[in-house]
Amino acid sequence: MQQVRELAIEKALFLCALISVLTTLGIVLVLIFETLSFFEEVPVLDFLTGTTWAPTYRPQHFGVLPLINGTLMIAVGAAVIAIPLGMASAIYLSEYAGARVRQTVKPVLEVLAGIPTVVYGYFAISFITPLIREFVPDANIFNAASASVVVGIMILPMISSLSDDAMRSVPRSLREGAYALGSTKLEVSTKIVVPAALSGIIASFILAISRAVGETMAVTLAAGATPKLTLNFFESIQTMTAYIVQVSMGDTPYGSIEYRTIFAIGMVLFIMTLLMNIASMWIKERYREVYT
């Protein structure tokens, strides 16, 4: 009797663990199924190479490039802000700061990481956008720059926290060897510790950029709803995520072609972030320096 009970419990716990696999399967199947029926009406090539995204006007255009362009602009803009700041603060935390400063700053960075993205979106339109328009009066009220700034702030804690962890796992003996050869702290930090921790640092960059690609609420609020092939950060654009939100807020009839665009775009988004996450994990494993 007890054996039956033990076995039943083990099986039940196994089912719990299986839910996560089923979730992935569910995501993949839903995306594939609906995307395929989208491609029955829109040729794959038109979707991937078209330069106009206008699913609600006649004639309809389903070229995904403007949305991908918008998403990449935000990702690049956020990276330009978050990578230098995040790296510098990671170096400071790992190499310069005393234990007490570290113990205070790290939790604060975690708070920054825990703030809901809709709050960042509000911050963008209420504070960053007016600030940008002070300096660039021509800037649209919705613009890619403002969204990039807040997404950059959002992914900053991720970069500094993960890079700090990577740098702190570099053994002390490496630093001491460099000091013994007469290096300054700056040289030890930038020429010994950063290269030694590079795999972890690059992995943190990729993970953070993947987060920026999937970011939704801040870009929906601040970057606008104008799918456009542009490189001007002061114009209104639209990202893939913002488009998905826009469609699901309207009353798009279930089963229509507009409804299916959600899934096709979701598929592109899913593949992009998945590849980045896998690359991040792979780099971390593959190029890890092993210290014994």
Partner: protein
């Protein structure tokens, strides 16, 4: 010269670190500055309205609380169960490896993709409609990877000697887990779960996907009722151009942040309290 360069570099790094802290302060100050004046009891106890002076967050606040409780009920048993299986039962097989890789990948899937899954699976296929239950199920899937990973860490921290002592006294595997491993890992598990739930409370994108962005002027009475939630109400107000609605959004943000802060504080208190008692 090298010394000067070193000092300059140190200060640059210090400035970058303080920039992050400064931004946090700025963000909080901005919300406080604009929202504090609107944060009254009437605001907490009124339904949304197209007149800013009469608008409140009653339905959103209750929606968020409902959502949090339902999400916890669904995700905690599943997540902790999965963590127990992976740490205590699973052998090092290919299946275990796949499950673990899969969980860390799921943690990186954008929240809006969970919303798409929720829309297709719960709203349409299971025909739950735009209900609290559909929202809670979607959120549960979203935070499941975080719950599993943090619970695994807590379970892993329990030393093997505890398990072996229990086996030596003739306990079965489940008895060992139930009476020794779980109680010892409980503070860690609770902390991780509360933090995961606080993520769910702040998420808006998946809920918008399943259609929770509607005008709701009542508090939900059952899991099958339509609902709205704090981040969605904030999004709704923030996306209106009129200045008063921006202030309402700021006031809503203050309420949301207060809720999250309470949850985080609870998690930290639990962690600190039990860390004192448990010494291996």
């Amino acid at each position: 010269m090298r010394r000067i360069k070193g000092v300059v570099f140190e200060y640059l790094c210090l400035v970058a670190t303080s920039a992050a802290l400064l931004l946090l302060a700025l963000l909080l100050w901005d919300a406080w500055d604009k929202g504090a004046g609107w944060l009254t009891f009437r605001f907490l106890d009124s339904f949304p309205s197209r007149f800013p002076e009469q608008a409140g967050i009653k339905s959103a606040l209750w929606g968020s609380i409902w959502l949090m409780l339902l999400t916890a009920l669904i995700s905690i048993p599943l997540g902790v169960g999965a963590a127990i299986y992976l740490e205590e039962y699973a052998g090092r097989t290919w299946l275990t490896r796949i499950i673990e890789i899969n969980i860390s990948n799921l943690a990186g899937v954008p929240s809006i993709v969970y919303g798409i899954l929720g829309l297709a699976l719960f709203v349409r296929w299971m025909m739950l409609g735009r209900s609290l239950l559909a929202g809670a199920l979607t959120m549960a899937l979203l935070i499941l990877p975080i719950i599993i990973i943090s619970s695994q860490e807590a379970i892993r921290a329990v030393p093997n000697s505890i398990r072996e002592a229990s086996y030596a006294l003739g306990a079965t595997k489940w008895q060992t887990v139930k009476f020794h491993v779980l109680p010892a890992a409980l503070p860690g598990i609770l902390t991780g779960n509360i933090l995961a739930l606080s993520r769910a409370v702040g998420e808006a994108a998946p809920l918008i996907m399943i259609g929770a962005l509607t005008f709701i002027a009542f508090t939900p009475a059952s899991p099958f009722d339509p609902f709205t939630a704090l981040p969605i109400q904030i999004f709704n107000w923030a996306s209106r151009p009129k200045a008063e609605f921006q202030y309402l959004a700021a006031a809503g943000i203050l309420v949301l942040l207060a809720l999250l802060l309470t949850m985080n504080a609870a998690a930290i208190i639990i962690r600190n309290k039990y860390q004192k008692y448990i010494k291996w």
